[in-house]
Symmetry: C3
Subunit: 102 residues, 3 copies
C-alpha cells in the first residue's frame, strides 16, 4: 500500500479554545482535524475558564510546512496565555498526497 | 523493559461503519482495537449517513503484515465509498510478541 | 519551532484502574496525563470489574527515563492481574524541556 510520510500534530487544550483553534487550523492550511473529549492534568500554565481537568485532544494530519505554521502560532498566541501542550509525530498516511497540496 | 517494534494503524471513520470495520479488523488478524468517539472535519469524500462532524477514531496495534492487509482492504472497500482516513505509525509495544503470532 | 524529542506512552486499561494508575504515574515522575474514554476488545488477559469493552486510553508525555519507570511498574503490578496494553512512541514536544526536569 502506497503511503505518504506526513506529520501528525496532537494538541491538548481547554475546551473553551475549540472554536478558535479550529478556525486557526483551517486558516493555516490544515485540511482536517479530529477532536476527542478528554480529561487530565499537566504543568501547562494557567487555564482560562474551563473546569480543571477537562480537555480536548486535537489531532491534525498535515505536511511539515503546515504543522510548523501551527506550532509557530501556538507558540505566539496560545502558550503565553493558555494551558496547551502540543507534539509532533511521524506517520505514513494513506492517500496522503492530497495533504501536500495545501 | 523489553518491547517489540510494531505498527499502530489509526482510522478515522463515520460511526455507521463501526460494526463492519470491527468485523473486518478481526477477520484480517487484528487481535484487538480501541475506539474513541470524536468529531471533526476533513476532505474525506462523501459521508454515508452519520451527521457531519461525528466520527470514530479506531486504533489497532498489529504486525506490519496485518496493518498492510487492513490498509489494502480500506483502499479497496472503504475509500471509494466512505469518508475514511488512515495512517500508520511505529511503536514499541510491551509484551508485543503476542501480536506477532497472528 | 524548537522541539524536544520525548516519549509518549499510551496505556489502554479498564476504567476501574484510573485512580490507581494516575496516582502511580504522578509518583513515577509524570508531569501530566490525558485520558479519553474508549471501547474495544483485545487479548489482554482477565478483566477486573468493568463491563467488557469499556476502556480508558491514557497518554503521558515524558522523558524516556520516566516512561521506562512506568513500563517497569506496569509489568510488575498491572500486567499479571489486569487487562492492560501499553506502547511507546516518539514525538517532538513543544516546550518539551520542562519534561526533562522530572
Amino acid at each position: 500500500m502506497y503511503t505518504t510520510p506526513l506529520s501528525i500534530i496532537t494538541i491538548i487544550a481547554e475546551p473553551v479554545l475549540e472554536d478558535r483553534l479550529v478556525h486557526d487550523l483551517r486558516r493555516l492550511g490544515a485540511s482536517g482535524y479530529t477532536i476527542s473529549d478528554s480529561r487530565g492534568e499537566g504543568s501547562r500554565g494557567v487555564r482560562a475558564s474551563d473546569p480543571p481537568g477537562v480537555s480536548i485532544r486535537v489531532e491534525v494530519v498535515a505536511s511539515p510546512e503546515v504543522t510548523d505554521r501551527i506550532l509557530d502560532l501556538l507558540a505566539a498566541d496560545y502558550f503565553p496565555h493558555y494551558a496547551v501542550i502540543a507534539w509532533l509525530s511521524e506517520a505514513r498516511v494513506v492517500r496522503g498526497e492530497k495533504y501536500l497540496t495545501r
